[in-house]
């Protein structure tokens, strides 16, 4: 019942802007697959191509044996799509929006109530309220209910957690994991790097290109070089003072309460010496240097640096 998605040699340009450059991806049935990248990475364009809201300049997308360009009606029938911008009808009530979407797909709220029960229950007390008067979190739940009402085999969620606080984001991901268990294939995009670890596999994207595709744990394990975390009594100046300290100290970035940097093939004692000596010259004290475990964001930064 789950579907596979095959993307081959996909290109899409808008005038002179290459929004997607030769994208190749295979997404397995029932996978929870994440598209991680900042604005302008091409995530939305890719989703709009899968849903046949746009046509590619070249390349193909298949959902199982259905070609998204030719069999678009069939693909749309088995796809639930939640765009990044809230795109339901503000002047219809919660219930009317759901009825409307159900009717488009020739089903009814009653028939498929069980599919959306978990999510819909949370907004059901407001079912007579107009969609425009809902809070952000409730709008999101309504949009998700509408995307699921026709029992799709493929669910596409465009930045469902953007602008959402850390607690609500967690709840949303718990919900996604639960939905995945029903057998559906889920494609989800996010600008939050920390959400990558919640996906089965992810692709890191930037400026229309795929930087990496793998399980999140493999991406992290493949980090090239040794990552260090450094702190001192003057954190606000630490990045500036560590940048250009020595050509062996690379990719100096603030990371939470420490500064991360990367070295290749030099021992800890050597790294410590270079950094400590250098920093003491610029009046840093209480210097701490430890090995750090790379996170997805470290990998993304490293790939970005390599790519530029």
């Amino acid at each position: 019942m789950s579907v596979r998605v095959d993307i081959n040699g996909l290109n899409k340009s808008f005038e002179s802007v290459e929004a997607l450059k030769n994208i190749n991806l295979e997404i397995s049935p029932n996978e929870l697959f994440g598209f991680i990248g900042p604005d302008g990475a091409g995530k939305t364009t890719l989703f709009r191509l899968i849903t046949s809201l746009l046509l590619p300049n070249s390349g193909t997308i298949y959902v199982d044996d259905l070609n998204c360009e030719i069999d678009f009606k069939k693909v749309r029938n088995i796809t639930g799509y939640m765009p990044g911008r809230f795109s339901l009808y503000y002047d219809l009530t919660v219930e009317e929006n759901l009825d409307f979407y159900a009717s488009i797909f020739k089903t009814s709220l009653k028939e498929n109530y069980h599919l959306i029960k978990d999510i819909y229950e949370q907004i059901e007390p407001f079912k007579k309220r107009k969609a425009g008067a809902l809070s952000g979190g409730m709008k999101q739940k309504l949009a998700l209910s509408c995307a699921l009402i026709h029992k799709p085999k493929l669910l596409i969620l465009d930045e469902p957690t953007t602008g959402v606080d850390a607690v609500s984001r967690r709840e949303f991901w718990e919900l996604l994991k639960k939905m995945q268990k029903t057998g559906i294939t889920i494609l989800v995009s996010t600008p939050y790097m920390d959400e990558a670890s919640l996906c089965d596999r992810v692709t890191l994207m930037q400026k229309g290109e795929v930087l990496a595709v793998d399980k999140p744990e493999n991406i992290v394990n493949d980090y090239h070089g040794d990552l260090w975390q450094v702190s001192s009594n003057n954190m606000n100046k630490l990045v500036t003072d560590m940048t250009g300290l020595d050509k062996q100290i690379k990719q100096v970035f603030r990371f939470g309460e420490t500064v991360h940097c990367t070295t290749k093939g030099i021992e800890k004692s050597m790294v410590t010496e270079i950094i400590e000596l250098g920093l003491k010259k610029s009046d840093h004290d209480n210097i701490r240097i430890d090995r750090a475990q790379p996170q997805i964001e470290d990998c993304f930064l490293s790939l970005m640096v390599d790519n530029n």
Partner: protein, 244 residues
Amino acid sequence: MMKEENNIIIVRDLVKKFGSFVANDKLNFEVGKGEIFGFLGANGAGKTTTIKILSGLSKPTSGKAMVAGFDVSRDTDKVKRNIGYMSQKFSLYDDMTVKENFRFYGGIYGLSNKDIADKTNLLLEKLDMTEKKDMLLKKIPLGWKQKLAFSVAVMHDPAVVFLDEPTGGVDPITRRQFWEMIYEKADEGITVFVTTHYMDEAEYCERISIMAEGKIEALDTPRMLKKQFGVETMDEVFVKIARV
């Protein structure tokens, strides 16, 4: 606690009600000169309401708030003159050029023509964007736009700048460059009042307040907050407080 005269923002028993709904419930805090103050909370916790009051756009129901030495209920014009504001949603005008945006905001902030011209040149040079000064803003990538917006928000050297989710959707490198700009301005003595959903950015602030249901539930340095709640990351602190 810092001395009163060093405090750029002073909030005392601040209450804001909308009908029977209490959006801000007796808030008390102060923010020092040049401090980077993180103002966190779940969606709907009441952060925007507070920012609107502190920037003179909304009046408190009761209580008092002073910004840059002016009372937000009485001296709203003076408050507005002494603050800068930017957010992800509202920053600069897409259908004006970079230079026109500087001209426009400089005028609004009451700078002289000469000051506007000087500042524009200086800031554009600093951002390495002098060549792009006649480009329409909509042609500028998001990351650069946000850096420009920040420069514009502080071009009149305000006492405090309010940044409402300034880095949403921005790539991780630009996000960090943005924070370097924040540090630089804080070093110059501008107070930075910032909201964010990125928990690593919470660590970049000197002190953090976390709001839930209209109340400030925690306020301290990131280090002390983590200690207080016995956890390793700000993310965990946030989840403990905000999940009520």
